[in-house]
């Protein structure tokens, strides 16, 4: 369970948000909405351990989170605005690299199967540099497919995805929540998830 208490964040001299509190329980998703510049990305980065809050506290399973909390880091999968893919590596190598970073490398067959599920079966023959933005984000979907981590922190995951991709994202999220995983998602467009599992927060 991830909890935030009275969080506030600053960017340079300006206060972006203050007094933000939330509770994220297993099997639920927290959808963060708000105008551009309202601090959605900052809030997610605080949860992912990349940004520090100006004030307030974060709790993981009721224990306060210090600057580098190994247990929270091991439980979190963060997908940011940038894809985290290396241009010089191909899709399979990138996927393997990101999974190894999470301590769970997979066999080439598993990787290929995952890439096939997200309609990227022919894409591993060339560097990622030659893939479109939408195809790169699908590699991110393959990573979600193979991930075993309970907490997903997704910053605008529907970016550059076509309708089929968004549908796959939604089904992956549903499966993840059904398996008692939790997700913190920032999004501009609505995602079709079971309403009883979703709480919405507007910054």
């Amino acid at each position: 369970m991830l909890e935030g208490l009275e969080l506030s964040a600053q960017r340079g001299e300006t206060l972006i948000f203050a007094g933000v509190s939330f509770t994220l329980r297993a099997g639920t998703a927290l959808v963060v909405t708000g105008a551009n510049g309202s601090g959605k990305t900052t809030l997610l980065r605080i949860a992912a351990g990349l940004s520090t809050a100006q004030a307030g506290e974060l709790f993981w399973n009721s224990t306060p989170v210090t600057s580098f909390d190994a247990r929270l880091r091991e439980a979190t999968l963060y997908v940011g605005h940038a894809t985290g893919l290396k241009d010089e590596l191909d899709a399979r190598e990138n996927l393997q690299s990101l999974l190894s970073l999470h301590g769970t490398p997979c066999t080439p067959q598993t990787l290929d199967a995952a890439l096939q599920t997200v309609s990227l079966e022919g894409a591993s023959d060339r560097p990622v540099r030659y893939l479109s933005q939408g195809q790169r984000r699908r590699i991110g979907l393959a990573r979600l497919l193979l991930s075993a981590r309970p907490l997903w922190v997704l910053d605008e995951p529907a970016t550059a995805l076509d309708a089929a991709g968004i549908a796959q994202l939604e089904s992956m999220l549903e499966r993840h929540l059904a398996a008692k995983g939790m997700a913190m998602i920032s999004t501009h467009q609505p995602l079709a998830l079971s309403p009883e599992r979703v709480s919405v927060m507007t910054l």
Binding site: L50, R73, E74, A82, G84, K86, S97, P127
Partner: protein
């Protein structure tokens, strides 16, 4: 079996499984990844090596081909050129990862960031520092350095380029995404690299004067150890500042 043996066996059984997020695994991950990328971008690395050669060649053009003079400035020229070549290659240490988001994936991962950075710096040194070291005796020939002097030069560069890569990593992390990056990085790193330059070139001069170069080498080795222990943590702090 003795009681000690039983106790040891029991300790092994109940010991927690080694965490997959230890420092060595982190180094292995970033080292392997960055080396693979270096192999794919070796054209770029070749250009940096050419820069090293060109800078060295400019000196005889500017000071004249008199052998005694070239012999006197040879070690210094090789060291300054190596320093500039390493400086030129430093931005690529973090800039690409910062831009494509893999640096923030590293920051968000469960691996210790200093260890991930150590792997990156090691790969960077293998790709840029090591070729300089290997090339230096060849480049020392036009400057009239003897075989022994070339060997001392190369050995010093082996230690020195390592220190420069590590110190440079701190500078590269501090100037991530900052205006005026390259020149600012040079301003930050060059003063700190003065001791490396002094002892590295000083080793060759010592050999020339018939003295032993080992005082300089032991200082350089000590500096390298200090840098290996300290620089990754400073660079990690700087990366987290940039990611915040």
């Amino acid at each position: 079996m003795s009681a000690v043996g039983d106790a040891a066996e029991r300790a092994l059984e109940t010991a927690p499984a080694a965490s997959p997020f230890g420092a060595w695994q982190a180094v292995a991950w970033s080292l392997a990844r960055d080396l693979r990328i270096a192999v794919r971008t070796r054209a770029e690395l070749g250009v940096q090596l050419l820069f090293y050669v060109i800078v060295i060649m400019l000196f005889p053009l500017s000071v004249g081909p008199e052998p005694a003079l070239l012999r006197a400035i040879g070690p210094g020229v090789a060291w300054v050129a190596a320093l500039l070549a390493v400086l030129l290659s430093l931005p690529r240490l973090f800039a690409a990862d910062f831009a494509d988001g893999s640096l923030e994936q590293m920051g968000a991962s469960a691996f210790p960031l200093p260890a991930l950075i150590t792997g990156k710096v090691a790969a960077h040194w293998i790709a840029t520092g090591a070729p300089l070291v290997l090339l230096s005796p060849v480049l020392a020939l036009p400057f009239g350095l003897s075989g022994e002097e070339s060997a001392i030069l190369a050995l010093g560069l082996l230690l020195g380029t390592g220190i420069l890569s590590l110190l440079g990593a701190i500078g590269a992390a501090l100037t991530l995404g900052v205006r005026g990056g390259g020149a600012l990085l040079a301003l930050l790193v060059l003063p700190l690299s003065a001791p490396v330059l002094i002892f590295g070139a000083g080793a060759v001069d010592a050999v020339r004067a018939g003295l032993s170069p080992w005082p300089q080498f032991s200082l350089l080795a000590a500096g390298l150890l200090l840098a290996i222990v300290g620089a990754p943590f400073a660079a990690s702090a700087a990366v987290r500042i940039a990611l915040d």
